[in-house]
Subunit: 370 residues, 2 copies
Amino acid sequence: MEKIYARYTALVATLPASVPFVGPEVQERARHAPFEARLGANENIFGPAPRAVAAMQAAAHEIWMYADSESYDLRSALAAHLGCEMHNIVVGEGIDGLLGYLVRLLVEAGDAVVTSDGAYPTFNYHVAGFGGTLHKVPYAGDAEDLPALIDKAAQVGAKLIYFANPDNPMGSYTRGADIIRALDALPEGCLLILDEAYAEFAPADALPDIAIEDPRIIRMRTFSKAYGMAGARIGYAFGATDMIRSFDKVRNHFGINRAAQAGALAALGDQDWLTQTCEKVSQARADISRIATENALTALPSATNFVAVDCGADGDFARRVLAGLVARNIFVRMPFAAPQDRCIRVSCGRPEDLAAFARALPEALAQARR
Amino acid sequence: MEKIYARYTALVATLPASVPFVGPEVQERARHAPFEARLGANENIFGPAPRAVAAMQAAAHEIWMYADSESYDLRSALAAHLGCEMHNIVVGEGIDGLLGYLVRLLVEAGDAVVTSDGAYPTFNYHVAGFGGTLHKVPYAGDAEDLPALIDKAAQVGAKLIYFANPDNPMGSYTRGADIIRALDALPEGCLLILDEAYAEFAPADALPDIAIEDPRIIRMRTFSKAYGMAGARIGYAFGATDMIRSFDKVRNHFGINRAAQAGALAALGDQDWLTQTCEKVSQARADISRIATENALTALPSATNFVAVDCGADGDFARRVLAGLVARNIFVRMPFAAPQDRCIRVSCGRPEDLAAFARALPEALAQARR
């Protein structure tokens, strides 16, 4: 028998090699064909502000230096932007990276964690990866159901609740005032993660007014979506000082890309560009909705840069529609869980991207109906 | 009493908020003055190949896209470069990120891990962060002592040995043939990490010729050092297929910066630039050695892009020299453990950087002797 040298932990031995999402490049290689429209990952094709691009390009010349381990300039600007102190903010390798750190801080084998059935798979991947037990709560009316999540957390003694607002993949949102009201029922010993990846696209009343030192909640935002920098891998969490400081126990202090730091700082400084982006996204949402209507489908309301389009039947039908779109070189995705999987999810694109989608959709629908 | 919502794991509750290194920007803020020469972090001030810079700049325009989760193009090029298969390679967020993943895969509370006393602190940070117990072996003659590391691992039943070749912070190296010979004594159930961050600077006989599927060893290399891209955060591990595949259980699949991927691919493609860099580094090592001699100090031989300079007395003296250099705007670091802490460690720089060092050193020495 061959000798074994790598003795994995008991937990790791039970984990599958997996990936939360199959990326578009991976699909392109499998299909032996590029996508014509990249509308599946809620990327922001309108891109970062030109001054952010310029900052990243300038930083390419100084990429021989490690980044500032404290992300001082960026945290300083974010503190001014958010109206809090620098020590209330930690910068990380995107929300994905920050979720991984947070789960690691709180969750060990057998700890209960609550999320919505069909919510962010990467969070679930982290929870499984640290041995937590996931408890899933159904959506209510295509929205994440915060009171039900909190009820479940109380029942199972959860350490952590994941709640995205606005929601991905449905695009719905919960009013900030309702979040605050729901928090009254949060049990002791349970922290609420408020994933606000899509916050900048949302109506103002989606964002709760919560004291920064409130120990019940940690909020996460990113430069991946509205700021158009998904490939840069930079986001931030903000909340109570002690909680934020705890990230320094486990985070990769020199893990941020130096050009990403510079780009994020420049992007944050161009709020006019952000406003223009949100207008383009709003127009694209209207266009996706119109395309849906033209095909006798129903576009759901969206507070994000994507639209869930109800294909009017069950998950199997929507999966056939999705396959038909992918076969026609349109990269889209869809919700994983019923009954939300009656929808496909289409990211906002430029007019030419949506025109390609509009061309492919009738054929994909016809094929799915055959 | 205030209610507690964040229930940290038992392990996390025992961890300090810490950072393996104090970064130069952090020091500059504390000093209220910039450094004149940045020679402390073994960064490669000669920078990446112009075509790598160009690739990163071009990628800034497409940074709205997440990176390819499989780093397909880069792994393909690395496989050709190394003479192995793509499935023998995993790309990660620098060696720091890959070390974190590997420790997570193998180490749980109380597991024994072996390293050299005074070797890479970030590895130790990861081991502590996953609850491992570190056993440290002294250097032998300013070199990491692989046979002694393996002996210690056998004694304590270690799962993991960390061994850097060439070594940081001393710059020494072990011949590849000696590594292969030492491996014969590696106990079952113990994996050797061969950290080759400085491999490209080293003489050819430093690199062991080991079968890629050898289950006893995992090797790590980086674009941070010879390729001049520390701020990009991209490195790779290579080894047996099963071991490499296990990273897919825990890694942040979409965690690599897209511009870093493009830059690394371009950098790998310009081996002429790498050769030129190594020549500049070789010249800088000779210059540092000469400056040491002019100050009646001894430069140790180096197979890296830095030189350990023996200050001729004890750690307290070297710390005074270091403080004197920092006070004169020269960023350098030094080994942490005795007796290696009789040295300061000076990274290779341009002629103007080393000239600034040469100006500051006599004053720093004089002050340290007072």
